[in-house]
Structures are given as C-alpha cells and as structure tokens.
Symmetry: C2
Subunit: 458 residues, 2 copies
C-alpha cells in the first residue's frame, strides 16, 4: 500500500472515504478509554491533522495503548468522516506500528509551553502547532516571493555574502577570516588576501545586474553585528532586494504595493488553516488585519506632508517625541499615520537627505532625496527604497561630503558612466514581513535557529 | 504609451505586428549605413534580442547615428517581421532617445572577449550574451528547484549560516567574529559569547525539521575555507539539501533521479534560446547531453559491484589509478562507469564506511554504510546522500570511534530518542549543477561574484 501524506488525505478526502490508507508520522497526543483510543496524529505536511481512532479489536491492542507521545508510527486504517470536524477526515485504524519510540523525558508533553521555553528546545519546537504554523507560513511566503518576481520576468541574483566592501556602512559588520584569533594579523595572509566581512546588503551588486537584466531581485541572508537585544533584531536574517531599471520613485511604489498585496493574498489562501490558528493564538484580529491590507489602497505623502499632519495632531501634545521637519519619525508617529489618520499603509517619500544613504537620488529642492519608506498598520516600516542617484558628479560629490571613498567603489560609480539610467529598488526584511503575517511578535520565533547577541545554539 | 519588455515583444509578436511599441534598454552593437542604421538592442528580459532599424527619416538622425555602444535608450517604433530571424520581430524606429550615454572607454566593445578578461569586469559581464545566458539559467534553475519541492509538499527551511557546531568537520571553516583581529582573543567577549564559524552544511538542522514536517529542503549559501584554486572550488557557493522522513536509501534514489530529470526538463523548455547559444559556445553536444539525461534511466550498483566492473575493465591497464574494494573511486573511474559502461547516470551505493561520514546508516555487513553518490555523464559526482543512522547506540559508538564529541550535539542525538524514524537526505552543490546545465567549465563563470583564494572583488 502506498503511503500518503496528511495533505493528500485532506485534499482527496471525498474520494478516499471508506478506503484503506497508510500514514506515517508522529503522535502529538494520545488519549485512552476502556475500549477505544484516540491519537492526535501529524506528519507536518498539513496543518489540520487527522485523528486516528482505534478500538480493542485492533491487532496489537496492548502495544498500541502503550504508545508514547512523540513516538513515530505507521498507521493503516479506513478513512471516515469526523464528527468533531467535518473538514478533516478521521482514520479508523486496523494496524498501528511503532517506527521509533519516544523517551519518557520528552519535553513536548501536551500542555501549553511558553515561547521562551520552546526557544530552549528549538530543535523540537517545529513539532508544536505554533511552529508548524509559523514555519509553513515562512515557506509559503518564500515561494510567493519567488513566484511574484519570476512570473514578472525578474532575474533571481545571488549576491555575495563575503565582501570586501564597507557597503553603505550600515551598522557593524562581522569579520570573516581563516586566520587564528588572538594572533598577530596580516591582511595579506588572510584567505582572500585582504580583510573581509559578511554583507549587510546586496543592493550595490544588485544594481550591476539591473543594468543588464532590467529587473532583478535578491533573496538571501544578511548579517548585522549590532548588539541589540530586542524583539526585532537578529544578527542573521533574510532580505529581499529588487532593483529595477527604467523605474522612478512613483513606479517603485506601484511595485512595492502590488508585491505586498500579492504576498498577503497568497498566504491568506495557501495558509488559511495556519492563519486561523495564529489568529486565535495571538489574540484575534490577524486575518482581519491582513484582509484589510490586501483590499486597501496605500496612501502616498511626502515626508514634509507627513510632518505637517503629525504636528497638527500633536497640538494636544499626544506624542512623546515632537515631529520635526528634517528629522526621522518615531514609532508613535508611524502608528498614528497608518492606524489613525490614513487607516491604510502609507508611503512616506522625499526624505531629508541628511538622514538617508549616499546613493539616493537628490531632488531639485537641494534638501531631500527620492527615498520612500512603506509604513504598515500594526508593523511600522516594512520596506525601504529609493530611486538611485544616476548622475555621476552628484553621486561623487555626495560621497565626498560624507567622507566615503570612491576608489574601492569604482565599479559602482562606473555604472553611471556606462549606459546608466533612471533606476530604483527597495529592501524588505523577510522576518519583519513574517512577524506581520503571523502576528508573532518576536523575531526569535520566526527564524528556525535565531542568532542574537550571546546566543548561537544548535 | 506603456513600455514593454523584449520578452513581451517576443511572446506577443503576432498580435503586436504593425503596432507601435516603446522599449527601454541598451545598445549592444550599432552599425550605420548611408541612410539606415541597425541597433542590436537588449533589455535582458529575453535572450533573443530584437534588432532596431532606423532610417534617415527619423526625427533626430544626427544624434541617433552618434549613439554609443553601451548607451541606455528608449525606442519608439513599429513591430515588423524580421527577414534575418522570423522568430524574433524587428522594430522600425520612429524615435530613439538617449537615456544614459556610455563613455568611450567602455570595455565591452563588440568583439569576442576571453572569459578571463570578463571576470576582471564582473560588474559588466552580465551584459554579454554568454552571461545573459548563464545567469538566466541560474535563475530559472533556482525557481525550478523551489517549484519541484513546493509542489510536492516539502517545507523550505532556512538553516543558520553562523554556527557554533563543527558539523561534519568537512574541510576548513571561516571564523565569524566581531572582535578586532590581531588582538588578544577571549571567546566569551565575542558577539555570540563563543567561537563561531560559517556553516559548511545545513543537514543536521535540516534533520530536526524533517522530524517535524516529514519532507523539507534547504537552498542557501555554504562556505568552505579550502585553499584550492581549481575550476570547481569556490569559498562561497549555494547548496540544496532535502531531508525526508520515512524514506530509505532506495526511495532516496527515486527522489534524486526524479528531481534531476525535472530540473533538466524545465531548463530545456524555459531556456531553449539560452541553451542553443551555450551549445554552440561550448563546442556542441550540450542539448544532446541534457536531452539524453532526461530520457535515461539511472543505473544502480553497489560500490562493490562498481569496483568489480572497473577491475574487469582495467585488465588492459586503462586506468591510471587501480580501482580497489574499500576505497574511493577516481574521476577516470566515474567517467568510465557513466560514459562507457552504463551510458547513463549511475547511483553507486553502499560505500565503505571508513571513507564516509559518521551519521550514515551502518549496514548489516559491518563494512558499508547506506550512502549513495550520483554520477552523471560529463559531470562526475552531482549529488551525495545517505540514509541516516537512526539507532542511538550505533550512532554514538561510531562517533566515539571517530573521536567526535557528542556533548555539543546532544540535540542531534536526541532526534534518535524522541520519535526517530528511518530518514534520508542528499546534498547537491548548485554551481556543480549549473556547470553541468550550461556547459561552462569554470565555477567562477556561473557565480555572479565568485569568492576564491586571494580573490574577493566587487
């Protein structure tokens, strides 16, 4: 008999009813009555798990009733309708065989565990319902990202992770070396003959590919050696960075909006059961929030307009931090704009140049750059992008002002001399998206094995 | 007028004939005659590029005839059939506007450049036909990998890249640190409070997810600090590592064979133009090789059977290295098996345990493990996998024999105590696949920005 997954069982439930099937997976819970037993069975391919029911007529009753929680089993039985949940069939078992026993000290006994405890057993937590949901959303969202870009002709580019660039000088970087620590160091004896670090962005290399393929995206790991022990910082995370030739700032916003709505719509459809669970688990409102986003239109305001709105709102002194022209906005400001003023995601664009990166297009006002942040209700900043400075002189002047050496970046500058064109791109932290999609509030709980200060386990 | 890509132009050629379109891209070549001009135009979305034709009736004839190779332009014109190549339409231009000029020192003048020279200008080489083909194949193959696994219910897992494990002790690793080089080193003061390195595999973490989701795969970067300056070694490369619960060695081979044929078939269909070019570029035979693989059946022999075949063949002393029972095979042996004996890919399984990793299932003969290498005509070893040792005592005994400490790996060992089951997985180096798919023979030419000893540019 061919083994089927619980996903197949659910998808073909009607057709399989009354037939005998074989399933392989694990026991999440096991309740025994006098002449019957009930096993919460899962194999991880489907969020909604079939209940396996057996009675004293089963071949090896003694053995089966003694099966431990956590054990791996093979189940042969007949597919029947479930009274409890008509959307998920039950299996009336004829035979249950132990594949791998589970020791008595198994930490995942059927009770509610704190997420903090589950982090300590990160190698077992994927077996819990919470993490079955979270990591399926992670996988489905990954695929949706690829599908979105590939269907629209974007090229997937693997930008390098080991780099000799300081890049945008964003935060602290990790050094990569094959030299012995604590010994005198000579860069020329290091593996690459020079000091190298882990990349904080693939954008600059991404631009070189956009100047050849028009539309490209990256989706890969990124690293920050920032010593921040917060709910939203990790030292290793994944990032998506599309870059588009012949695209200006307004067109970039069109892409960002379309992309985000596509991802949300995909996850709403493909992870309906997972989201229903996460909605309950996180206190309700998750599905409403995602549905509202999918159907909303994103507002677009300049930074100056946003500050005017915020200053007006602050006449009653509602904000802890005063909104100021020419300065960054605070979390409370973002929250007000998205949740109270616009009731929708908001693009804030044309930022003061002094608080943004050197490579952004300098607007004619001499004060702002063509940068845009997408603020989302309940999540704050989700994407950050810009039209790139394509005028060679303007770019090198700005770099001089900021004390950035152009020597090492000759290739990046040359893009402006060799058929440069208006182009733009954005970056989205994948885990930030996942926090938004799952309602889970700590980045440690959306990454299989999170890396944070003082923590590198498994 | 909406701008269309050359991909849209080609796909909708029939419908668009006679209509006016707007294209944006770059000039690869520009030939001028007395009253006419011809531009090889590309935007990178489609491998086959439309020729743009203009005549002296064009609005800005003087300016257009002076357009440099490499410049970015906007073209407005009418779609007409091409006499040269009926599969790719031509555009009869009414207007050609310069978007970004290209300096006279542009290195990509229209002549054949050596791949060695192109590596030095890796930031421009994506604009050449060779690398337009190679990097499109890379992107399409990436997507095919995701599609294969996702359609079959596998979960995509991002295993960590910064690790405190020695893992399989495979080769030399890069150290990751935020401490200053050349200074006294205290591990407890390092970012993670302990020494960390870049991962050489995600398999062990992958197994923890297979024990929760049944079928998982990884697809991410991997690092080796091996000082090998060869055509097939890079310090940073991407790897695919599926792991499957309730799967034995023979079933694993089924998956590997199906997966490989799927990838080859997808690339043959979706990159037909790219492969036609690469076939010519690499001297012919590429498409025949790939088509043959797709339609072949993979042979399966044990390592012992393979050695017997090789020793028989070596009666005339054809091999430089004598094939020996209990030892590894050489490249010449693999070539003979695939290209001369079986004329197909070959799975060689049940390898001598002393030349394989500690985590592989120990066969009853006491001499071999349930490992399998897939050898492919024209590429050698493409995948390496094994059924994993699931018996706790056997595994820990083997680790002791090999001097591997179990202390740090308690979580890996515990998988065998907490509902362990027969499971298996394999690894495939993505660049090795790409070398096979593109016919390009140097790993430096299938990676956007390769990292090799003494080389970390861009």
């Amino acid at each position: 008999m061919r083994v089927i997954t619980t996903r197949e069982l659910k998808e073909r439930a009607g057709e399989l009813r009354g037939q005998e099937v074989c399933l392989q997976g694990w026991i999440r819970n096991h309740r025994k009555q006098k002449n019957m037993g009930f096993i919460d069975f899962f194999d991880g391919t489907c969020f909604k798990n079939p209940q396996v029911v057996y009675d004293s007529g089963i071949e090896n009753w003694e053995e089966v009733t003694g099966l431990h929680i956590g054990a791996a089993v093979t189940v042969v039985g007949t597919v029947v309708e479930s009274y409890k949940d008509p959307t998920t069939p039950e299996v009336q078992a004829r035979q249950i065989t132990l594949e791998g026993d589970c020791a008595e000290d198994y930490p995942l006994q059927p009770k509610r565990h704190s997420v903090e405890f589950l982090r300590e057993i990160a190698y077992l937590r994927p077996r819990t319902r919470l993490f079955q949901a979270v990591f399926r959303v992670r996988s489905v969202a990954s695929m949706a990202i690829h599908t979105y870009f590939q269907e629209r002709g974007y090229l997937y580019v693997h930008t390098p992770l080991i780099t000799a660039n300081d890049a945008e000088g964003a935060g602290n970087t990790f050094t990569v070396t094959n030299q012995e620590m604590g010994k005198p160091y000579k860069a020329e004896e290091d593996f690459f003959g020079r000091p190298t670090s882990l990349a904080v962005t693939g954008q600059l290399e991404g631009e070189t590919f956009a100047m050849a393929f028009s539309k490209i995206y990256t989706f890969g790991p990124t690293f920050r050696a920032e010593n921040s022990n917060t709910k939203t910082h990790a030292a290793e995370f994944w990032m998506i960075e599309p870059e588009i030739a012949f695209c200006d700032l307004q067109q970039l916003m069109d892409v960002e909006e379309d992309f985000l709505k596509y991802l949300v719509a995909e996850v709403l459809v493909k992870c309906a059961d997972e989201l229903a669970f996460l909605d309950k688990f996180t206190g309700g409102g998750l599905i409403d929030k995602l549905t509202a986003l999918k159907d909303s239109r994103c507002a677009r305001v300049t930074h100056e307009e946003a500050i005017t709105i915020l200053r007006e709102a602050n006449k009653d002194g509602r904000f802890q931090f005063e909104p100021k022209y020419g300065e960054d906005t605070a979390k409370e400001h973002e929250k007000y704009l998205t949740e109270e003023y616009f009731h929708s995601p908001v693009f804030v664009y044309d930022w003061p140049k002094d608080i943004k990166a050197f490579y952004m297009y300098q607007n004619d006002d001499g004060k702002t750059v063509a940068a845009v942040d997408l603020l989302v209700p309940g999540a704050g900043e989700l994407m950050g992008g810009s039209q790139r400075e394509t005028r060679y002189d303007r770019l090198t002047d700005r770099m001089k002002e900021l004390g950035i050496s152009g020597e090492q970046m000759y290739w990046y500058l040359n893009l402006r001399r060799y058929g440069g064109c208006t182009h733009a791109g954005f970056g989205m932290g994948f885990e930030r998206l996942l926090i938004y999609l799952t309602g889970v509030d700590n980045i440690r709980d959306v990454i299989p094995y999170p890396r944070t200060p003082q923590s590198c386990d498994f």
